[in-house]
């Protein structure tokens, strides 16, 4: 079947199977490989993208369900070459090591802060339940999200 959706500000029409996952459409169909797949049980959050503004595990959504939706992936966050404040905060606070969980962490954080502009450390940690990182021990990710939130508040 053919579906049309907006991805990172661009209307795209893609031909998919009924069982194609959104993560597969993004990675394989649209070559947006910044969205990562790190598990097969919807646990890790590496595949997190924004669908109509809400963070979603793209490995858990059928591409067909995203028909007509507005999708933002990690590739769509930086505007005109300038990092999004959340990306910048991850850089400043050393919130990433191998980088594999990072796109999901950043997208998830962007959604958190959209709904809760000044999250406490405990709220951030609770929000990250669905995102696994094996490298950083989370501490600098939490710091980065605090800093990113602050930057977005003052933006």
């Amino acid at each position: 079947m053919d579906i049309t959706l907006a991805v990172n500000g661009r209307q795209v029409t893609a031909s998919i199977e009924a069982n194609t996952l959104l993560s597969a459409l993004l990675r394989e169909g649209l070559a947006l490989t910044g969205t990562h797949v790190a598990c097969d049980t919807s646990q890790c959050g590496a595949c997190t993208v924004l669908v109509d503004g809400a963070s979603v595990k793209s490995c858990t959504l059928l591409a067909a369900e995203a028909a007509g939706a507005t999708v933002v992936t990690i590739e769509g966050l930086a505007a005109d070459g300038a990092l999004h404040p959340m990306q910048q905060a991850f850089h400043d606070e050393h919130g990433l090591q191998c980088g594999f969980c990072t796109p999901g962490m950043v997208m998830s954080a962007v959604d958190l802060v959209a709904g809760n502009p000044d999250p406490s450390e405990a709220e951030i940690r609770a929000w990250l339940k669905g995102n696994i990182c094996r490298c950083t021990g989370y501490q600098n990710i939490v710091k980065a999200i605090c800093a990113g939130a602050a930057a977005l508040r003052s933006a």
Partner: protein, 794 residues
């Protein structure tokens, strides 16, 4: 320190591509015309293969090939081991063949049996389900204590008792004599639970073959591309190195699991050659659980002999180590050479004897996992020190202090092979006690008690060996190769610098840290230094990254290469400045005639090297400015330190919460404090995971892996953790020219014991003297239930 040189918390150069989704992991690479490989894996822990019928699978749409051992036998050699060990009797370990696809028998759930290659992933998956394998299921054994019992199922006909190797280190007679005169002997039985490394990027391999030239390229998620080229190409596939390029592009974490060379990498490469098309395989997470080398899995009995003052007289350790169904790349080396010699720890124990039985079982092979042997040793030692303190009514800090190797006793020869260079345990201890608020614990415990919680505090003082390694020592211990590192520094004509290292970065930040190091040494801004790694076609032969070796060995190689660049620069400068070479000094990025203001900048020298002016002595001095160095260290490095943890346990539910953690580490020279801190955080949390939640469990009857997904295998999450307070308190390593010790594994080495010492302390009122990891709610609750009636009766 320059602003962006050694010691600066420089932000990472590699971040931007990862933060914008432009990382390039093997998962992301697509080659024109690529095929997809899927492995059919054994559903049984132990079975004979009676027959395989691939015809139904081959008939599937889009299926290109189905391979079994019948196809690869004689074409692909077995998966090799890079580090053999010898037993007490001097005889080599048992090293049965490890065919890339199971031949005749499967030995663990997940053992690969067939490879299906198809036009699409879906087609390959569908076809894999059509391969028909008939098995005769055999009794299986997964637990190491069961595997050594008489009558246990035998994995190999010619490996009696499943015993790969009966290994020992230390002086048995001397240790027995120490025990004979002991005032007290502390005893401890413990299990070091099996773990799954779970790098977030699952393993993946994509191979291509160019028939016109016979060249192979393999993109693979490895920590050691050059070693993989030798083991896969030369040893397994018979592809000469000149025809085989191995690329480890961005790699999403390794933790040791990607320093292992795997059958899938060889099979994909071979299939690409057979089919003359690129072949790609990406492990699914559930497949990773069944095929990535796992870690730990020891059963240990330990005894510590003490005199009446609490001085350690002798340590005796007997361990059964489970290495799974096959000998993995470094498998047998981990629970032996990287374990027994670490049992001296930070203490002056004069006599140590450690025996390890290395045992096969019907489980996924074990190999290096962050810390590799050293967390296991630290766990044994630091737990039994606590047991001894309690037995003798001594303070846990005090007993450690009494037994410390004094700062001025370094260099210190331990009774188990290692010679430590530098350390200052009193300093790291004092700092950790201070940062953790150790002296104020009683009030916090009372506060917790008023909330119905049991609060405990734990401490560990440790030393570890890393910076693997000096080739000579490693070879004496069974390494089948060298363990140096390489560096190539290419100063480009404009004076910017390209650095090629044999080390590999999969999260450690080498592109930043090595640029800082080289930038500082050459007086060039680190922004003008580009670090290249992970490609055998670009970097000189190097051994890769594991064992916290990149800075200590790879960094030292860069130091050496930079020295050669400066030496040549001096020659060029001498000619250009019409001075004698001896009079040229290199300072602040300029070559100057000592005592004068005559100087040439680094950029000018680089320009002259490539555009030699008339004064350049081409007859005696080659043009160009590029140097290669190979650095083989004199010894390991020995990071150490002191960690403190506090936990609260809810006695009603058995839930343990880690409420505070302090890490003070001696990592030697700190090249980038931000990166060191990040490594410590990550390392600590991996160890906390082992202590509190991670557990790889096999069903003892069927041999099925019960913890085969993130739903059953509990990874630490952000909300399981407190803020980790970390600091460095460094002494400079004498074993390499930059003084670094390494920081990649310190956290994982210290934290399991630290957390468990806190857990046992919290349960002290119940008379509980030990709990095995992980301290899951169920285990803690049961321990309390079992102890409570006893405590009440007393």
């Amino acid at each position: 320190m320059t602003q962006d040189g050694i010691g600066a918390p420089l932000r990472r150069k590699e971040d931007r591509r990862f933060l914008t989704g432009r990382g390039r992991y093997v998962h992301d690479i697509v080659r024109p015309g690529q095929l997809y490989a899927v492995f059919l894996r054994s559903p049984h822990a132990h079975a004979e293969i009676l027959g395989i019928d691939t015809r139904p699978a081959l008939a599937g749409t889009g299926v290109v090939a189905v391979y079994t051992a019948a196809d690869t036998a004689g074409k692909i050699n077995g998966v090799p081991c890079a580090w053999g060990i010898a037993g007490k009797d001097g005889k080599p370990m048992k090293e049965p063949p490890h065919p890339p696809l199971a031949l005749g028998k499967v030995r663990h759930v997940g053992d690969p049996v067939a490879m299906v290659v198809a036009e699409s992933l879906a087609a390959a998956r569908n076809a894999a389900e059509l391969v028909q394998v008939s098995y005769k299921v055999l009794p299986a054994v997964t637990g190491v204590a069961d595997a050594v019992k008489p009558g246990a199922p035998q994995l190999y006909d010619d490996v009696p008792g499943n015993l790969c190797c009966d290994w020992a280190v230390g002086d048995k007679a001397k240790t027995d004599a120490a025990f004979a005169k002991a005032h007290h002997v502390a005893r401890l039985d413990l299990v070091n639970n099996r773990l799954v490394p779970n790098a977030m990027e699952s393993r993946a391999a994509l191979a291509e073959y160019e028939p016109a030239t016979g060249d192979y390229t393999l993109y693979t998620s490895t920590q050691l591309p050059h070693v993989a080229r030798v083991l896969l190409g030369v040893l397994m596939l018979g592809i000469p190195e000149r025809k085989f390029r191995v690329v480890a592009p961005d790699v999403g974490g390794g933790f040791g699991s990607k320093q292992v060379v795997y059958a899938e990498e060889a099979l994909v490469t071979w299939a690409a050659g057979q089919l003359e098309r690129p072949v790609k395989w990406v492990a699914e997470r559930s497949e990773a659980f069944l095929s990535d080398a796992q870690g730990r899995d020891h059963v240990t009995h330990a005894e510590l002999a003490l005199d009446k003052d609490g001085k350690f007289l002798g340590l005796r350790v007997a361990t059964l180590a489970n290495i799974g169904g096959y000998v993995s790349t470094f498998g047998p080396n981990i629970p032996t050479n990287l374990y027994g010699p670490l049992l001296a720890g930070a203490y002056t124990t004069p006599a140590i004897y450690c025996e390890v039985k290395v045992v096969f079982s019907n489980t996924v092979p074990t190999d290096a996992y962050r810390g590799a042997g050293r967390p296991e040793a630290t766990y044994v030692l630091e737990r039994i020190v606590d047991v001894a303190a309690r037995d003798l009514g001594l303070d846990r800090v005090d007993i450690r202090r009494r037994n410390f190797i004094a700062k001025d006793a370094y260099p210190y020869q331990t009774p188990v092979m290692l010679q430590y260079d530098t350390g200052d345990h009193a300093a790291t201890l004092a700092r950790a006690l201070d940062l953790s608020g150790w002296s104020g614990f009683a009030a916090r415990r009372a506060g917790a008690a008023s909330r119905g919680k049991l609060r405990g505090i734990g401490i560990v003082t440790y030393i570890e060996a890393c910076g693997l390694a000096p080739s000579r020592i490693a070879q004496q211990l069974g390494a089948r190769g060298g363990l140096f590192e390489s560096a190539n520094i290419r100063v480009n004509p404009s004076g910017d610098v390209s650095v090629f290292t044999g080390a590999h970065s999969h999260g450690q930040g080498h592109e930043t840290v090595f640029a800082q190091l080289v930038g500082e040494l050459l007086g060039v801004p680190s922004a003008n230094v580009e670090v290249v790694h992970g490609d055998t076609a670009r970097s000189p032969f190097g051994l890769g990254t594991y064992g916290s070796r990149s800075a200590a060995v790879g960094g030292a190689a860069l130091f050496k290469a930079a020295g050669k660049i400066i030496d040549k620069g001096k020659k060029i400068a001498a000619a250009l400045l019409e001075a004698s070479e001896q009079d040229i000094e290199f300072k602040n990025g300029a070559f100057m005639v000592a005592g004068t203001d005559r100087a040439k900048s680094f950029v000018e020298i680089a320009g002259a090297a490539y555009t030699p002016p008339p004064s350049y002595p081409l007859e005696t001095l080659e043009p160009g400015l590029e140097e290669t160095a190979f650095y083989d260290p004199v010894n390991f490095t020995y990071p150490g330190g002191c960690h403190v943890a506090e936990v609260e346990i809810d006695p009603e539910t058995g839930v343990t919460t880690l409420v505070a953690y302090t890490a003070v580490d001696d990592v030697g020279t700190v090249l980038n404090p931000m990166i060191v801190e990040g490594q410590v955080h990550g390392g600590v949390v991996q160890g906390v995971g082992q202590a509190l939640c991670e557990d790889c469990v096999y069903d003892p009857e069927s041999g099925q892996l019960l913890s085969g997904s993130f739903m059953d295998y509990c990874m630490p999450r952000a909300d399981d953790l407190p803020v980790i307070v970390s600091a460095t308190e460094s002494t400079v390593s004498a074993h390499n020219p930059i003084g670094v010790k390494g920081c990649g594994e310190t956290g994982t080495i210290a934290s399991p014991a630290t957390v468990m010492n806190a857990v046992v302390d919290a349960l002290a009122a119940y008379g509980i003297s030990h709990v095995d990891m992980p301290a899951s709610p169920q285990r803690i609750w049961r321990a309390i239930q079992a102890a409570a009636p006893r405590a009440a009766a007393e």
